[in-house]
């Protein structure tokens, strides 16, 4: 079981890293979107490994389907022929980007591999806290969905409602922003 978990984790992690790199470094934007979809799917696999089945499903629905479709639709509106030329930024900034990302990674790794004991950030202390028996029973029967639902409608009901208002606002806002300015259109036609 342990070995199988490790194997799956390794596989998913490898796919995630490769496909994420592909999403960034592909010259063709469609290729990078496809690569991104692969990343999303692999992340949902990681979620399953983490006992987060609801998240995994949500990941596929929201990311791998919704957002990807949005991206593709926006590409349909915006892409021109010479977009493939837009690959990497100019040299100084690319070098700087590698420096920044590398330094950040080193800092994170220092943190993660527990070099800074003074900060009392000890990941192992989290692991020692074992889940209750009832939770394990629940997980085996119904997954994490009941837990999350309970949390969302009790403890986190206020953020949940605010989030719904936010989403409504975003829908209206996105529609307004993306809509072609009719006044401008009229003006353009007049001038033409």
């Amino acid at each position: 079981m342990e070995v199988l978990q490790f194997l799956f984790f390794g596989m998913f992690a490898l796919v995630i890293v490769i496909s994420a790199l592909g999403a960034i470094f592909c010259r063709n934007i469609i290729h990078s979107i496809v690569s991104l979809v692969i990343t999303f799917l692999s992340v949902s696999g990681i979620f399953i490994l983490l006992n987060a089945d609801f998240l995994a499903i949500s990941q596929i629905i929201i990311y791998a389907v919704g957002i990807t479709i949005l991206l593709v639709f926006s590409l349909m509106f915006t892409t021109t022929k010479d977009d493939n030329k837009l690959w990497l930024a100019f040299a100084p900034r690319t070098i700087l980007a590698f420096v920044v990302a590398g330094t950040l990674f080193i800092l994170l790794m220092f943190n993660i591999t527990n070099k800074f004991t003074d900060f009392n950030i000890n990941p192992k202390s989290f692991i020692t806290k074992a889940p209750k028996e009832s939770t394990i029973e629940l997980l085996k029967k119904q997954g994490t969905t009941p837990i999350i639902g309970k949390q969302l409608l009790t403890k986190y009901v206020l953020p949940f409602e605010i989030l719904s208002i936010l989403l409504l606002g975003v829908i209206i806002g996105a529609a307004v922003i993306a809509k072609k300015d009719t006044n401008e259109k009229n003006r353009a036609s007049e001038s033409a």
Binding site: R93, L107, D118
Partner: protein, 645 residues
């Protein structure tokens, strides 16, 4: 009478008021009519003249009084600078001289400048000069004197450069201003040094700071504090002010160039009043100068050499105004010489008589120049006596006066020679007599060249207007008579001699009456007249056309020396070229590469730092992101490092 004494500030205040009115003439509609400027200027001077007459009579009736009034001007704790007005015999006399000459010259200027575009500007400058000169005369202390001394210099600068579009006039104005700066620098340093060495006395006593009335005590205290050498340097610095202002050697070169200004200005400022301010200041600072015998000696020799050299230069000048300018220089040398040997009254007496006749001579030359359409060269004049007899006769009166033939110059020059004779300074006496001879010679020379003989020029002649000739006639009266009036001969009808009215220490009494000197000087003046007549007057000898060649032939080196003004200008130019310019270039190199370099380094480094930082501000949002992340990483790293260490 008391009213005029107590309100003497009106005399300089009215010209200032007129100046402001003309300066802002557009607001007050002054520029609509030329007579408004004239009326403002001459009116203010006229009121000043009337007041001055009353003040003079008051002072003659009460010779021992001196009134002064002070207003606290700058209170800097210990030092309390005041301005105010001081009326004593000397100031009263100077007030009358300045206002009367100014009044006549202002009226004359209307005729002279009527066609000029800058008519109102001219009168504004003129009245500004009037204000500063009168305030200088009325100063109570050395600081106030310094202020108005500078202001007088500025007016002189403005008026010399009145026709600033002529390059020569602009150059002359600059030259006068810069040479006067040298003197003013000395005066300022001397003033401050005097204040420094007598500071305790001024602060502990209740006297007005540096007031003239107690300058003698302060001077002796400064002598005790500073020692004779330093005190001598201090007094030399003070003497430099009068040397530059009164055009004494070696700072005399500006005066001849100053003749580029309009002729009324030459008469008023560069002959009668402003250049005499140097002598006036010597008179005011006499208590200080007297403490240092070396300075008195220097003063004597500066005066004597100036008198002599300027007279020799005047002999060969063909420009009528330059001739008169060097004559002025020479006569000022006489005055300084007189002050130096202790003939205080005689020097000031000569100042006053000279002011009248030299103003008149210049006005005559102005009339001649005006009537000959700006022709100044005497070679192209001649025979003008028949055309403008009034000018010719007034010029003759002036010539007689300055030559010392019976008219006013005779009396004042006589007083100077007498004091030299009494003190037994024979060398100086001989120099003075030779100068007197040369004075008579060159003045008659100019008279003959301009007014006698045949007309040699080509310019179209037109008569000067009455407004120009009337002031000449009026000025001729004091030019002829003032020496006689104040000579002491009229004691019986209540007019005392000049030296019983203005004196230093105690009044000189007629100790010595000798007929030797007057006769001697009369003979010498007559000799000068005869020599000039022989060479230049066709009635005596019609050798005019050969005279220059004759002189050039037999006295070539001397003649050259004289026409080239003893090479003073060339010497100055060489001095500037080979000494001052290299030094200033060295300094400028230091300035350019060290000081400027440092400043530029600051500027450039800031510029490049700014440019380096502005690379971040390129509008690209990712650059901002990188910057923010780098800063974040830096902060985190520093914090971690602090915790690790």
């Amino acid at each position: 009478m008391e009213f005029f004494i107590n309100n003497v500030w009106i005399i300089p205040a009215l010209p200032l008021w007129s100046f402001l009115l003309i300066l802002f003439g557009r607001i007050f509609n002054v520029y609509e009519n030329k007579y408004i400027s004239l009326a403002l200027t001459a009116g203010s001077t006229f009121i000043g003249f009337i007041s001055s007459i009353f003040i003079l009579f008051y002072c003659i009736n009460n010779p021992e009084t001196s009134t002064q009034y002070n207003i606290l001007w700058l209170d800097t704790g210990n030092l309390k600078f005041s301005i105010g007005w001081l009326v004593d015999n000397l100031a009263a006399m100077m007030l009358v001289v300045v206002t009367s000459i100014s009044l006549l010259i202002q009226i004359y200027s209307h005729g002279y400048m009527e066609q000029d575009k800058g008519y109102h500007r001219f009168f504004a400058y003129l009245v500004l000069f009037n204000f500063s000169m009168l305030a200088l005369v009325l100063s109570t202390n050395l600081f106030q004197t310094y202020i108005f001394w500078e202001l007088v210099g500025v007016s002189s600068y403005l008026l010399i450069g009145f026709w600033f579009y002529k390059p020569s006039a602009a150059q002359a104005a600059k030259k006068a201003f810069i040479i006067n700066r040298i003197g003013d620098c000395g005066l300022l340093v001397g003033t401050l040094a005097l204040l420094f060495y007598s500071l305790n006395w001024w602060t502990s006593s209740q006297n007005i700071l540096l007031e003239f009335a107690t300058l003698g005590q302060a001077g002796s205290l400064a002598l005790a504090n500073a020692g004779p050498v330093l005190f001598g340097l201090l007094a030399l610095g003070l003497l430099f002010g009068p040397i530059a202002k009164s055009a004494q050697i070696p700072l005399h070169t500006w005066l001849a160039d100053a003749m580029e200004g309009p002729t009324p200005i030459s008469a008023l400022i560069h002959a009668a009043t402003m250049v005499a301010a140097g002598v006036y200041l010597i008179a005011r600072l006499y208590p200080v100068f007297e403490l240092s015998p070396q300075i008195m000696t220097i003063m004597v020799w500066v005066g004597a050499i100036t008198a002599f050299i300027a007279a020799t230069i005047a002999i060969t000048q063909t420009d009528i105004k330059k001739c008169l300018a060097y004559s002025t220089c020479s006569q000022l040398g006489y005055m300084v010489l007189a002050m130096g040997v202790g003939a205080y009254s005689a020097g000031l007496f000569h100042l006053i008589t000279h002011a009248y006749f030299k103003a008149m001579l210049f006005l005559c030359s102005g009339a001649v120049i005006h009537s000959l359409a700006d022709q100044q060269n005497m070679k192209y004049m001649g025979g003008l006596r028949k055309k403008i007899p009034i000018v010719a006769y007034t010029y003759l009166i002036g010539t007689l006066a300055i030559a010392g033939l019976f008219l006013s110059g005779f009396w004042s020059k006589e007083a100077i020679l007498l004091s030299l004779y009494i003190q037994g300074k024979n060398l100086l006496l001989i120099i003075a007599l030779i100068t007197a001879f040369m004075t008579a010679y060159y003045m008659f020379r100019s008279y003959f060249m301009v007014f006698e003989g045949e007309y040699r020029g080509h310019a179209h002649f037109h008569k000067p207007s009455k407004i120009m000739t009337v002031p000449l006639i009026i000025l001729a009266v004091p030019s002829a008579l003032i020496g006689f009036i104040f000579s002491g001969s009229l004691k019986s009808i209540g007019i005392g001699s000049f030296d019983s009215f203005i004196f230093y220490g105690h009044a000189l009494h007629e100790a010595h009456v000798s007929l030797f000197l007057p006769i001697c000087s009369l003979i010498i003046a007559t000799l000068g007249f005869l020599l000039a007549g022989i060479i230049y007057w066709d009635k005596l000898k019609s050798l005019y056309c050969n005279c220059f060649k004759l002189v050039e032939k037999y006295f070539s080196p001397l003649y050259k020396l004289s026409t080239n003004k003893w090479y003073f200008d060339d010497f100055n130019n060489l001095l500037i070229k080979y000494l001052i310019l290299p030094i200033s270039e060295l300094i400028s190199i230091f300035d350019k590469y060290v000081i400027d370099g440092f400043i530029n380094l600051c500027g450039i480094s800031t510029l490049y730092k700014g440019k380096a930082v502005s690379l971040l501000q390129n509008g690209n949002i990712q650059t901002y992101l990188v910057t923010a992340l780098l800063s974040f990483i830096a902060i985190i790293t520093v914090v971690f490092l602090i915790y690790i260490i």
